[in-house]
């Protein structure tokens, strides 16, 4: 027997188009970075040194030059870092690990990217936040409550959002998003 086990994703690589809404499953590598008390004052400089880009304020995210690494500031002492490419993980994380508490989170989440003209009307049905450009610009990244579920919503472009929710309730979350898309289609 081949002693090798293989990975699956919560939504088996979903891709669907409903009306003017496109849904795709995405699976970034995600790590949580907690800031030790004594590092509080040096967070910005250390991150800048290691990541080569500025840290965001709470509720926002920032990207590296190639837009493959996204740093999200969840709260005063906690960040999430998202890697599009698994190959970039080790280098960055090994450096960060020396200064911060790191916990892997990749498998805790399901990612659904929603894009298309009707993204806003679709999200309007489940998301209590004001997603208009004035109050929710590109790269805003916050947690909120959608259909009884905890969701991290990130505006990636003017017409697309990345939604991260708990992987165990991935199917219910997908149902929530799909139902919205169908209801407005």
């Amino acid at each position: 027997m081949d002693k090798k086990i293989s990975p699956t994703t919560p939504l088996s690589g979903l891709h669907s188009v409903i009306g003017n809404v496109t849904l795709n499953e995405v699976n970034p590598e995600i790590f949580c970075i907690s800031i030790p008390k004594e590092m509080n004052k040096k967070v910005a400089s250390e991150f800048k040194r290691i990541l080569k880009f500025d840290i965001p304020i709470i509720g926002q995210s920032s990207l590296n030059k190639n837009s493959t690494i996204r740093l999200i500031r969840n709260s005063l002492d906690q960040f999430f870092i998202l890697f599009e490419k698994a190959s970039e993980v080790a280098g960055v994380m090994n450096s960060l690990e020396k200064y911060f508490y790191i916990t892997e989170q990749s498998d805790a989440w399901v990612g659904i990217e929603i894009s298309g003209k009707s993204s806003y009307s679709c999200l309007e049905r489940i998301c209590p936040l004001d997603l208009s450009t004035e109050s929710f610009g590109v790269n805003t990244a916050v947690r909120t409550l959608m259909e009884h579920l905890n969701v991290l919503i990130i505006k990636t472009t003017e017409e697309s959002f990345l939604l991260l929710s708990a992987s165990s309730s991935a199917k219910s979350f997908l149902n929530a998003v799909e139902t919205s898309a169908e209801n407005i289609a």
Binding site: I58, G59, N74, S75, L76, Q78, P128
Partner: protein, 98 residues
């Protein structure tokens, strides 16, 4: 209700979980001899004002912060919102007195 989060702006109260009287942050420390009355008063007795009330809200569907919200219990008007840690550091004398 809408709770204006100090960093995240106005958020629907349904993102939060309520705990109650902000006095609960001033937990007495157990030192010998144990003062049960102080613990009883801390845990069980409440001011329960009809008016401005300092109270604890947890941003469960948000940044997981515990906030001290000053809210009028007659009108529900929110007068002030602070992080619990900030509130505590503003009340340092209070804490050591308990």
């Amino acid at each position: 209700m809408i709770i204006p989060h100090p960093h995240l702006g106005p958020r629907d109260a349904c993102e939060f979980v309520y705990k109650g009287d902000a006095e609960l942050v001033f937990r007495p420390e157990r030192v010998a001899p144990v003062d049960y009355d102080t613990f009883h008063n801390y845990l069980y007795l409440r001011q329960n004002p009809a008016g401005a009330h300092k109270e604890l809200w947890y941003h469960e569907y948000g940044d997981r912060s515990w906030l001290v919200v000053t809210r009028n219990t007659q009108t529900h008007e929110i007068l002030k919102v602070e992080f619990a840690s900030e509130y505590l550091s503003g009340q340092k004398d209070r804490k050591s007195n308990v």
